[in-house]
Amino acid sequence: MDRLTPFVFGAYALLILFGGLFAAASRDLVRAFVGLLVSFAGVAGMYFLMNAPFVAFMQVLVYICAVSVIVFLAVMVTVESREGRNMPPKPLRRRLAAVLSGGLMVLMLSGMVLKHPLQSLAKAKAVSMAELGRELMGTYGLAFELISVILFVAMLGAMVLVHERRKG
């Protein structure tokens, strides 16, 4: 089984990189959206490889199912306003600036990872779901409550933003 791991890792990494490339650079909105989905799926596979099946399932549930629906709604709302309008190609300056700053960010972070290597374990640790639940309800209870408050406020804010008072 361990012999298969590099191949599986490579496949997931390719999914993530190509999906990300499509999502970030494609001119077509729907294509970018599909790239994003592929990338999310690759990350879910990575979580499985890291011996964290619960988080992998949450990735599928939250990102591939929920967040993607939200992004798709946004795509649907805007795709018709883009149709029939030929988008002018972006100026070279903007493209260069984006590539340079993205590349610099990657170089800086990779340099940090290479310069300060951490003691890496050979195998990923396993955490049982019961232990996760205990931590969530005990030690990190406050964080759990706060994230619920943030979600609630965000949903409320979104509803207030798009709410229209009935006239008359």
């Binding site: 990189l17 990735q59 979600l151």
Partner: protein, 100 residues
């Protein structure tokens, strides 16, 4: 194993950052931000699973990042709807004036 996973996370973050700067439409910028958040979550998870740090803490942090991403995308969708209603289009370079 740890650095390889972190390089994938960094690459994903960089792609998202590139998308965020390169694109002008709000939807494409939202896609870029989602990519960045996912790359960061992947890196957090790798750091927790392959070092002596608490693995449960890393997994919970990843879950919290997912919650934040969901909240953020819901808000951005609302903003996109409003901008579309007011301006008819959702490009950031068109919408650069504020009015009280």
């Amino acid at each position: 194993m740890l650095p390889i996973f972190q390089f994938v996370g960094i690459a994903m973050f960089g792609l998202g950052f590139f998308g965020l700067l390169y694109k002008t439409s709000f939807v494409e910028m939202l896609i870029g931000v989602e990519l960045m958040l996912n790359g960061a979550a992947l890196s957090i998870m790798a750091a927790a699973q392959f070092t002596a740090a608490s693995a449960a803490l890393g997994q919970l942090a990843t879950l919290l990042v997912m919650g934040l991403a969901a909240a953020e995308s819901a808000l951005v969708l609302a903003i996109i709807l409003i901008v579309r209603k007011r301006f008819g289009r959702v490009e950031s370079d068109e919408i650069s004036s504020l009015k009280g």
